[in-house]
Amino acid sequence: MADQDALGASLRIAGSGLESQSVRLRVISENIANAQSTASVPGGDPYTRQTITFENALDRATGASLVKVKDIGRDAAPYSVEQDPGNPAADENGFVKLPNVDILVELADLREANRSYEANLQVAKQSSDLMNQTVALLKDV
C-alpha cells in the first residue's frame, strides 16, 4: 500500500499548493480593488499594496513537502502624489497620496498565480488518476 500512501501525500501537497495560490489570488484581487482607495482623513496614507510570500512546510506525518503562506506583508514602495485640491483626502496644500498599486504588475501576478493553480490542479488530477489505475486492477478479477 506504499503506492497509495505516496499518491495520497502527493494529493495533499497539490491541495496545499491550490490553497496557497488561492490566498495569493485573494491578495491580488484586494490590491486591484483598492488601486484607487485614498485615505479617509485629509493628508492620510492611502491603501498600501499587500505582498505575499510562501514557505516550504514539512508535513511530519507523511514527510511530504507542503507549501504554506509565510507572510502577507505591505509593500514599502512610495505612494504616488497627485495635485487635487477638491479631493476629500487632500492635505492643506492640495496633494493627494494615491496607493502604490501598479495594475499591470498585479495583472502579471494574477496570470502567474493562475498558471501555478492550473499546474497544481494537473498534479492533483493525475494523482487520483494513478490511484484509480491501481484500483482498476481489481476489476473483472
Binding site: 503506492d3 516550504n56 493525475q126 494523482s127
Partner: protein, 125 residues
C-alpha cells in the same frame, strides 16, 4: 514458477513512480517558494541496482539493516540553471513533462500486472 518475479518488479516500479509523483507534486506546489530547490529521484535502474540481497542472520547479535537504511530516499537537486532571483529552481514545464512520463510508466506497470495475472489465470483454468 520460481523464476516468476514480474509482480514484484512491477510493484517496485509503481512504488518508485508513486514516490516520484510525490516529489513532482512538492516541486509544483513550491514553484513560487523562495529558495526552494527542485527534487527528483535517480533513474529506476539505478535504484533497482542499489537494492541488495538480504543477509542471513546466524547469530542473534547480527544486525539486519532495514530497507530504509539500504535504500535511502535518494533525492537529488535539479541543476541551478533554472534558479530564479529568489533562489527557486523549479521548472514547472519540466515538471509537467515528468508528470506525463510518470503517467505513461504507471500505466505500463499496471498493464504488466494485469496481463501477467491473465497469464496465471490461463495456466490455472
Amino acid at each position: 514458477m520460481n523464476d516468476v518475479y514480474l509482480f514484484e518488479l512491477s510493484s517496485q516500479r509503481t512504488a518508485y513512480l508513486s514516490a516520484r509523483q510525490t516529489l513532482i507534486a512538492g516541486n509544483v506546489a513550491n514553484a513560487n517558494t523562495p529558495a526552494y530547490k527542485a527534487l527528483d529521484l535517480k533513474p529506476f535502474s539505478a535504484v533497482l541496482q542499489q537494492a541488495s540481497i538480504d543477509m542471513a542472520t546466524t547469530n542473534p547479535a547480527h544486525l539486519t539493516p532495514t530497507a530504509q537504511e539500504l535504500d535511502p530516499p535518494i533525492a537529488r537537486e535539479n541543476g541551478d540553471e533554472y534558479a530564479t532571483v529568489s533562489g527557486n529552481s523549479v521548472d514547472v514545464e519540466g515538471e509537467m513533462v515528468k508528470l506525463g512520463e510518470v503517467n505513461r510508466d504507471f500505466g505500463m506497470a499496471t498493464g504488466v500486472k494485469k496481463i501477467f495475472r491473465q497469464m496465471f489465470m490461463q495456466a490455472l483454468k
